[in-house]
C-alpha cells in the first residue's frame, strides 16, 4: 500500500471534488478512436458532410469515446481497477477541438460486502458551462487500515 498514489477510502468525504481535468478531443483523436473502435469511416464523428446529413452542425465525439474519457479521468485519480460502474446521460453533442472539463463530486460513501465504495456525480462540461454528459460513478477504494 505504501507505493499507492491514489486516495484511500478514509481520505474521502461527502462533497469532495475531483478535477476538473481539462482536455480536447481533436479531429485526429476522434479518427484514431474510430479506427481502434472499428467504426467504418467516414461517419458522423469524422465527416462534416455526414454530420450535417444526421442533423448535426459538425462532427461530434462518439458517446463511447466520451465514456472512455470520463472513465480515464476517474481511474487516473482512483487507480486502474477502481471504477465499478459508470452510468451516464448524454445531454448535448460533444464537440471536437473544444476544451472539455471533466469533474466529479462525492455524494455518498459506504462499506458494502467488504468493499469501500464511493459514489460520485460525474460531469463533462464545456467552457461556457454547457453540460454535455452527466451521470454517476461507483468507485471502490482501498482502506489505509488494510
Amino acid at each position: 500500500m505504501a507505493d499507492r498514489n491514489g486516495p484511500y477510502f478514509e481520505d474521502i468525504d461527502l462533497g469532495d471534488e475531483i478535477g476538473p481535468v481539462e482536455l480536447v478531443a481533436t479531429d485526429e483523436n476522434v479518427i484514431n478512436f474510430c479506427q481502434l473502435w472499428g467504426n467504418p469511416m467516414p461517419n458522423r464523428f469524422t465527416s462534416q458532410e455526414m454530420a450535417e446529413a444526421s442533423g448535426l452542425p459538425s462532427p461530434i465525439v462518439p458517446g463511447v469515446m466520451s465514456m472512455a474519457i470520463m472513465s480515464q479521468a476517474l481511474t487516473d485519480w482512483a487507480g486502474p481497477e477502481a471504477l465499478k460502474d459508470l452510468d451516464l446521460v448524454f445531454r448535448q453533442p460533444v464537440p471536437h477541438n473544444k476544451p472539455l472539463l471533466i469533474s466529479a463530486t462525492v455524494t455518498d460513501t459506504r462499506q458494502e460486502d467488504g468493499e469501500n465504495l464511493v459514489e460520485c456525480d460525474v460531469l463533462m462540461m464545456g467552457e461556457a458551462g454547457e453540460r454535455y454528459v452527466g451521470g454517476t460513478a461507483l468507485i471502490s477504494l482501498p482502506s489505509n487500515e488494510e
Partner: protein
C-alpha cells in the same frame, strides 16, 4: 393601576434578560425560507439522483459549505408520485421534501405545484401535446398552480412561443432562474419577466445530487407543505436566489 409599576418593571427586566438573545430572535423573525422548486429524482427517467442522496447533499450544503437550504420540491417528468412518501427521510435529515410535477406541453415544460387527484383526473399528466393554457386553468381550478419552466430555453422555451405570437393571459409566474440553463437562457427569462411584469421562481433543475440547490426560491413566510407552497406562490412575495446568496 396598582400593578402598573410591577408590569413595567417586569417588562424592563424581560427586555434586559432577552438582550443577549436579540440576534437569534432577530434572525428568527427575519429568517427567510429557501426552497429549491425544481429537482428530479430517479423516478424521472433522465435523473440519476436518489432522494436519499439529495437529503445528504443538503447536509453537505448546510454543514460544510455554510449555505441555507430548507428543502426541495421533486418535480418528476410527466407524472406525479402519489404513492411515494418521503416524510421519514425528511424528518431524519430535517429537510422539507415536497412533491410536484414537470409536465410537457406544446409550449414547453411546465412545473405544477399542488398536484392532486382531481387535477390528475382532469389532465393526462403524460400528454406531451397538451395546451399549457388549459393546464394553467385546470391547475387553478383544482387548487394547484402551473409555472412554465426554463422559459428562456432556446428552441423549446416559452419565450420562443411568445415571440411567435402565442399569448398566455393567465400567466403571472415563470421560472426565472434555472440551474440547468445554458449561457443566455436565464437572461432571456429575466427579460421576459421584466417585459411582462411576471414574478419569477428559482430552481436547480437537478438531475444529479450535487446539483441540488444551485438556485432556490426565497420566501418570507414558512412553507410546510404543498398547499402552503401554492398559497405562498399565489401571495406573490418571493424571489429567485443563487445558492451563494443564501450564505448569511
Amino acid at each position: 393601576m396598582c400593578d402598573r409599576p410591577f408590569w413595567g418593571q417586569w417588562r424592563h427586566r424581560s427586555i434586559l434578560q432577552a438582550l443577549p438573545f436579540a440576534p437569534i430572535i432577530l434572525e428568527l423573525i427575519l429568517r427567510r425560507m429557501y426552497l429549491d422548486l425544481h429537482s428530479h429524482s430517479v423516478s424521472s427517467d433522465d435523473s440519476r439522483a436518489t432522494v436519499e442522496q439529495y437529503v445528504k447533499w443538503v447536509h453537505v450544503l448546510r454543514s460544510k459549505r455554510g449555505y441555507t437550504i430548507d428543502g426541495f420540491v421533486l418535480t418528476e417528468h410527466r407524472k406525479f408520485d402519489f404513492d411515494k412518501d418521503y416524510s421519514q427521510l425528511a424528518a431524519e435529515y430535517d429537510v422539507l421534501i415536497m412533491k410536484a410535477s414537470e409536465l410537457d406541453t406544446r409550449y414547453g415544460h411546465v412545473l405544477v405545484y399542488g398536484v392532486n387527484e382531481g387535477l390528475a383526473k382532469d389532465i393526462d399528466l403524460g400528454d406531451v401535446k397538451m395546451d399549457a393554457r388549459e393546464l394553467m386553468k385546470a391547475a387553478r381550478h383544482h387548487g394547484a398552480i402551473a409555472v412554465p419552466a426554463h422559459p428562456g430555453r432556446f428552441g423549446i422555451g416559452l419565450v420562443d412561443y411568445m415571440e411567435q405570437g402565442e399569448a398566455f393571459p393567465d400567466l403571472h409566474i415563470v421560472e426565472r432562474v434555472n440551474g440547468g440553463s445554458r449561457a443566455g437562457e436565464n437572461e432571456r427569462a429575466d427579460a421576459l419577466c421584466q417585459e411582462h411584469n411576471f414574478l419569477g421562481t428559482g430552481g436547480s433543475d437537478a438531475h444529479l445530487a450535487s446539483h441540488l440547490g444551485s438556485c432556490v426560491t426565497s420566501f418570507p413566510t414558512e412553507v410546510r407543505d404543498e398547499r402552503q407552497l401554492v398559497e405562498a406562490l399565489l401571495a406573490g412575495d418571493f424571489t429567485p436566489v443563487w445558492l451563494k446568496d443564501t450564505n448569511p
